[in-house]
Amino acid sequence: MKTNNVILRAVVKLVVFIILTLAVYLFLSGHHSPGGGFIGGLVVAAALVLLFVSFDIETVRGAIPFDFKKVAALGAFISVTTGFGSLLFGEPFLSQTFAYFDLPFFGETELTTVTIFEAGVALVVVGVVVTIILSIVEDV
């Protein structure tokens, strides 16, 4: 029996963007307030899983053609290499730094190296969560 899920799909198409915006917000707020790469990554993964649930796997795979194992590996690679970055400056492993820049449009903005590290964490979380969920789905 083919279920009619027009309403679900219509809502999901809209809601996914709200969820992704929330993910970006959480990711960026992580430096000074609750949030960060892990949470942001989880929310992105939640959005992707919602897509997988409401559309079928092939369709979403076609739209987002990433191998999520490699996404996770890329994230881990980014995080570990940012740790190595501090070695170039003779600082202890994993040292981070930040500075304020005057950017057009954003005004005075704090840019930090820890954001790169967190981006790696977010990618790992997205990759791992989606891989786990897809493996479970394929098993059934």
């Binding site: 194992k69 490699k70 996770a72 590996a73 881990a76 690679f77 570990v80 290499t81 740790g83 190595f84 501090s86 070695l87 600082e91 202890p92 492993f93 994993l94 040292s95 981070q96």
Partner: protein, 493 residues
Amino acid sequence: MNNLVVLPMVIPVLAGILFVFFRNQIKLQRWISFIVMIGNIGIAAYLLHLNQIAGIQRIDFSGWMPPFGISFVADSFALILVLLTSLVAAICLIYAFSSIGEAREKMYFYSFVNFLVAGVNGSFLTGDLFNLYVCFEIMLLASYVLIALGGEKVQLRESIKYVLINVLSSWFFLVAIAYLYGAIGTLNMAHISERIAESGQTPLLTVISIVFLTVFALKAGLLLYFWLPGSYSIAPTAVAALFGALLTKVGIYAMIRVFTLFFYHDPSITHTFITVLAALTLIGGSIGAVAYKDIRLIVTYNVVIAVGFILVGLAVATPEALEGSIYYLMHDMIVKALLFLLAGTMISVTGTTRIDEMSGLIRNYPLLGWMFFIVMLSLAGVPPLSGFIGKVLVGQGTIETGSYILLALAFLSSIFVLYSLLRVFLQCFWGETIISSEDEIPMKNGWMIPCAILTIGTIVLGLGAEFIFPYVSDAANTLLNPSDYIDAVLTQD
């Protein structure tokens, strides 16, 4: 601050991650893994040398000072073990190149070997108790994969047992850490040691120490070794050699560290426990080693005996005995890897695991036979091979403290080791040959070279004892004087 201290853990992690992108370039993966291990040998050797002239090295991650941040602390004891781990891993990799098979290699085999080594090195180097737990988990997760990779029926049966027992013991570990944090209020190992010394080892802390003892006994196979023979005997040869040489050693390391750095104030309780456990392990391991006809089980029970023997040194805790334990730990890593590789090679060439179905192998493979003979003598403690010095020093320690029962058990277990392996030797290498020259499977260089390197290793470790002794003695000294470790960690530089 010395950034080199973190590299033995981080470089293998990075290599393991990179292999995900080069899944099908097996040659590349082999070379990178091998170079990583060789690089780690170099780093560990340099740090060990630095340790003798400049004292204990440490690195505070992100520059957060201890006891607030996480530090890696490299003292001689940890570095000796990192050095041996990298050496054994490099040699097991050479063996894996020609034995593990393309199917496993394409399923990220080398990634997980690298993660395993990262976890082992991290456990040795970390100066933070919770971080020790994390590194244990990295090592265990990699070992779960390595033991189940291949998906044969028997592998799945044993790996389920292995995973369950380790998840349970990890949970105990976490509980023990929580208890200790509740009682002491810190996780930095040097800081814990300092606080316990200030407040005295109260009965509550002694109870917590027994929880730690249970955890590490499960991981090291001290008395609680019921899971060990099954899971170590079904893994592919190169993996079994890695496990036999490294995994129980991490448990032993943690036990020695915890009971020389934190809980050394009330030896009448804690060290009596260790004494009894070590004695029972020696007895149980000896019975197991002579009871079976499956060569893999004989070899794994030999691992159990070694665990008991090394912890005899911790139980009596005199300087000589600890030196002996460290020496024996080094010896055992090399020799157990060799023993597993030789046993695995025998199984590959005969196609059977039962010793009564093998015969006359020395006619077909003389080099294999002679190496088995040497490893047997080395394990039994015949001079000038590497087992001798460890046994003498541990024996000296037990005599000094008057623990004659322990002494008798330790040396009787050596007889059992000799008997169990001599039985294998007589049964499998002597007698009428069962393999005709037409059926003979040609011996691969990739199998013989790693075994030969390890055989040379055990001879060098025995003959070069004089050269290695200052490092071992420094390691034992640091263990016996926790203040050295504490000063190195808690002073600002």
